[in-house]
């Protein structure tokens, strides 16, 4: 927006109104987050009389006990493994399928694409019970794959759509030139389509990663062993165990959302673009 006219004409009143309103909303967003992080440094008594202010004495052990324990790291590793595998499989499988929809003419291609698009229409919760039974019958219950495979499957509709639209917009001349040079489909996919598709690979990866990192209902239903829990499940167990010792729970929450917050601020441009564009543009 190059809106220089209003900028010049903006009165001091407007400016104050803007900053006051924006700061108010920002405070509503930040206060719960900051009090959570600070609460982790307090003693329970301190938290009770003074939930808003700075701790009267900084109790670092709330945090360090968690950081030096194995529980936190195990949950992070579990989440990371599930998310990385989900991203990898989603990208590979959907890029390959999308490539055939974009470049290979075959009977029933349109119908098959619509088949995948059905997956966009309903959330995973809809079929969660039959999914549970299927995973159980496949013997994948309580294993990472019992979470990863359904996550990949439910992400396919959206990812294939994004990839196909991107592949289709690559210049046709590339394809023809490659074919004249004797390049086959598979080599074209590997040496031309994929290297040119970094932006869309990034978008699909970000959306898939964030969804998997934050996902709760699938691991909740598929996993039973606590050592396999990803962090959203682990945090609930932790809260159940420590009940009203809020200072510990708050420290734990802070540490678990810390990676998300750090990565978000480091790569905010890509993440915002990925999450909104992933949902919107295609």
């Amino acid at each position: 927006m190059t809106d220089t006219t209003t900028e010049v004409r903006m009165t001091a009143g407007t400016r104050v109104y803007l900053y006051v309103s924006l700061s108010l909303v920002a405070a509503l967003v930040l206060v719960p987050l900051l009090t959570t992080a600070l609460g982790g440094f307090k003693s329970l008594g301190d938290l009770r009389i003074n939930p808003f202010g700075l701790p009267s004495g900084w109790i670092w052990s709330n945090y360090t006990d968690i950081l030096f324990g194995e529980r936190y790291w195990r949950q992070m590793t579990n989440s990371l493994f599930i998310a990385v595998m989900t991203v990898f499989l989603t990208v590979v499988v959907s890029a390959m399928a999308a490539f055939t929809f974009a470049h290979v003419k075959f009977f029933g291609s349109g119908q098959l694409m619509n088949y995948f698009l059905v997956g966009l229409m309903f959330p995973v919760a809809t079929a969660i019970l039959p999914l549970f039974i299927r995973i159980r019958d496949l013997g994948l219950l309580d294993s990472y794959w019992g979470v990863i495979l359904p996550q990949v499957a439910f992400g396919l509709g959206m990812s294939i759509l994004l990839f196909r639209n991107y592949f289709r917009n690559l210049p046709d001349e590339l394809f023809q030139a490659a074919f004249v040079d004797g390049c086959g489909y598979i080599r074209f996919f590997w040496y031309v389509s994929l290297p040119l598709s970094r932006p869309i690979v990034a978008t699909v990866s970000i959306v898939t990663f964030v969804n998997s990192w934050n996902s709760y209902i699938l691991p909740l239903i598929m996993l039973n062993t606590e050592t396999k829990y990803p962090w959203p499940l682990g945090i609930m167990v932790y809260r159940g165990e420590f009940g009203t010792e809020w200072q510990l729970v708050l420290a734990f929450i802070t540490l678990t959302i810390l990676p998300t917050v750090i990565v978000f601020f480091l790569a905010q441009k890509h993440i915002i673009a990925g999450l909104t564009a992933g949902a919107v543009k295609s």
Binding site: L18, L33, P51, H103, P130, F132, I133, R134, V280
Partner: protein, 311 residues
């Protein structure tokens, strides 16, 4: 934008494959089809389509999930469901979330997006802060707000103490709990909708606004008669996401109330979890799944037909 909506409602896309070259050059079609399609097809059929079909089948049985389903009960699971007070409450709550989103969240998002369209210092920082809750996991957000609402240690306790009133235990109050949940839903998701509107506003043609200005339109008139109509497709998109989001709301509820107190904050998915999954009533749970599915499909097609004709 047109395309984006196509995606949102998953418009069945006819085969418009841009292949102008013919078979003489396009050799080796079979290997690529045999190698590239089956993985996606297999995964998708096995874990998305078949379970959905099975949900429809299982919903006709009374079954605890072990052995084959034998006790055929016809549509009884559905009659049980619709006579169940908790399920009715869940439907009402899902509706309430949609209403709040329409009346509160979307206006709030438009208002913020309009403010952030001004060229003032700090716009990027504000945008970042507003989007932050959306990136956090629902479970974490739910737990944070559980602390905020906590009557003994939380922020609400302190605020009540400051005003010298009795501490409200909002999440334990049957009448208040759902509003407390709704506030968290808005807190968590307004940033996402704001981003949609920021993108929408960037597509609004400046010259139209300038023309209105020259014609003497006030700020409100410019908004009401120029900007808002031009944001139409974004509003519809935003509404669509709000509805879909409401229908699958689960992660946020579990840490806050778990559907309680006495089912006051159930949604369809928490109901499915509480009554279907934890009690292994596969028939009843599948029936909820079928209801959800029917709503989603009707929504996708109906919404496209009614609201998106012009886009």
């Amino acid at each position: 934008m047109t395309d984006s909506i196509a995606m949102a409602v998953a418009r069945p896309v006819a085969s418009k494959v841009h292949v102008r070259y013919k078979s003489p050059t396009a050799r080796g079609r079979l290997p690529v089809l045999v190698l590239f399609l089956p993985p996606a097809l297999l995964l998708f059929t096995l874990f998305v389509i078949l379970p959905m079909g099975e949900a429809a089948w299982y919903s006709l049985f009374r079954w605890n999930g072990y052995g084959p389903p034998t006790e055929f009960v016809g549509l009884r699971n559905f009659t049980v469901l619709f006579n169940n007070a908790a399920f009715s409450q869940a439907l009402i709550n899902n509706g309430l979330i949609i209403v709040v989103s329409l009346l509160l969240q979307i206006p709030l998002a438009i208002w913020l997006a309009m403010m952030l369209a001004h060229k003032i210092a700090g716009v990027v920082a504000f945008r970042l802060i507003f989007f932050l809750p959306y990136v956090l996991a629902d479970v974490a957000a739910g737990l944070i707000w559980r602390f905020v609402y906590d009557g003994d240690y939380g922020l609400f306790a302190a605020i009540a103490g400051f005003f010298g009133v009795a501490t409200p235990y909002v999440l334990a109050d049957r009448d208040l709990a759902i509003y407390a949940v709704l506030a968290v839903v808005v807190w968590k998701y307004f940033g996402f909708h704001m981003m949609l509107f920021i993108a929408g506003l960037q597509a609004v043609d400046r010259s139209v606004l300038e023309a209105a200005e020259i014609d003497g339109a006030t700020g409100w008139q410019k908004f009401r008669y120029v900007t808002l109509p031009l944001l139409g497709s974004t509003v519809r998109l935003s509404v669509f996401f709000a509805i879909i989001g409401s229908l699958q709301l689960f992660d946020l509820i579990m840490p806050l109330t778990g559907g309680g107190p006495s089912n006051a904050t159930q949604t369809m998915v928490t109901f499915l979890y509480t009554y279907g999954v934890t009690r292994m009533q596969v028939g009843l749970g599948s029936a909820v799944g079928v209801v959800l599915f029917v709503i989603c499909i009707t929504l996708a097609f109906g919404y496209k037909r009614i609201f998106m004709r012009h886009d």
